[in-house]
């Protein structure tokens, strides 16, 4: 089965994105396909390249990137939700005259249309948090 994943909750404060990660791991292990993980609302913070959790705790940004690289799925961040929360790629940082960007390399800043497209392309949407 082909899954689209929607995550709405901030990392650390809520467990939802950890549960989503574990769901994806389990689904992939069973031979299912993850089409796209879409990060919305406060979940956009997971796309930050600057997360520095304590060393004995998982780094959500890093482990999503590893999983996405291994299995070839998209990590998509909602542009409207990201910009207002200060998650910027190089292009947006330039556009808004900011000194630096902070989007982790495997993540892409995309429009909300990519969420709708994921819902239409996948067999099932799984929503976590919110």
């Amino acid at each position: 089965m082909k899954f689209a994943i929607l995550i709405n909750s901030a990392p650390f404060t809520y467990q939802a994105s950890d549960t989503a990660y574990q769901f994806c791991q389990a689904a992939l292990k069973k031979g299912h396909v993850i089409h796209r993980v879409f990060f919305y609302h406060d979940a956009v913070y997971i796309g930050s390249n600057l997360l520095c959790p304590p060393q004995d705790e998982p780094n959500p940004s890093a482990r999503w990137q590893t999983l996405a690289r291994q299995h070839g799925f998209d990590l998509a961040i909602c542009i409207a939700a990201a910009l207002k929360r200060g998650i910027l790629n190089e292009q947006e940082a330039k556009r808004y005259g900011k000194l630096s960007d902070n989007l982790a390399p495997e993540f892409k800043i995309v429009g909300l249309g990519q969420l709708v497209e994921a819902c239409l392309s996948a067999d099932r949407l799984m929503e976590f948090g919110g």
Partner: protein, 118 residues
């Protein structure tokens, strides 16, 4: 074509969910799918007439709901129980809606391919 149901459960202010969810509804309506929208729990408050956000310094986004008809979101529902629990009536809501019993809401969810709940 897929049947997409948006479930609005949150109050309009207090969290940012309602406003960002509305962006997703408007975007989905551009994809020529069958879009339905249901308000339940504290999501009912999103439709309350006469919202005035000046004192809290937030943007009042409730006028956007009146434009939903233009965006091809034709089916708009409210769960009757949630409305009654909050002491509200249909005339307190800013747009025309269809009332659903809790059982009808359950069936509505069952009849859709994609559920987006905020």
């Amino acid at each position: 074509m897929k049947k997409i149901l948006f479930i609005q459960r949150r109050p309009p202010y207090g969290t940012g969910f309602a406003k960002e969810a509305l962006d997703a509804i408007l975007m989905a309506s551009a994809f020529e799918q069958e879009i339905s929208l249901v308000f339940t729990d504290d999501g009912i408050w999103q439709l309350k007439t006469q919202q005035d956000t000046q004192a809290v310094g937030l943007k009042n986004f409730s006028p956007t709901f009146k434009a939903l008809g233009l965006y091809e979101v034709k089916q708009i529902y409210v769960e009757r129980l949630a409305l009654e629990q909050r002491g509200l009536q249909l005339q307190d809501l800013s747009i025309p809606v269809t009332l659903l019993t809790t059982e009808q809401l359950r069936l509505l969810i069952q009849q859709h391919d994609v559920i987006l709940s905020f």
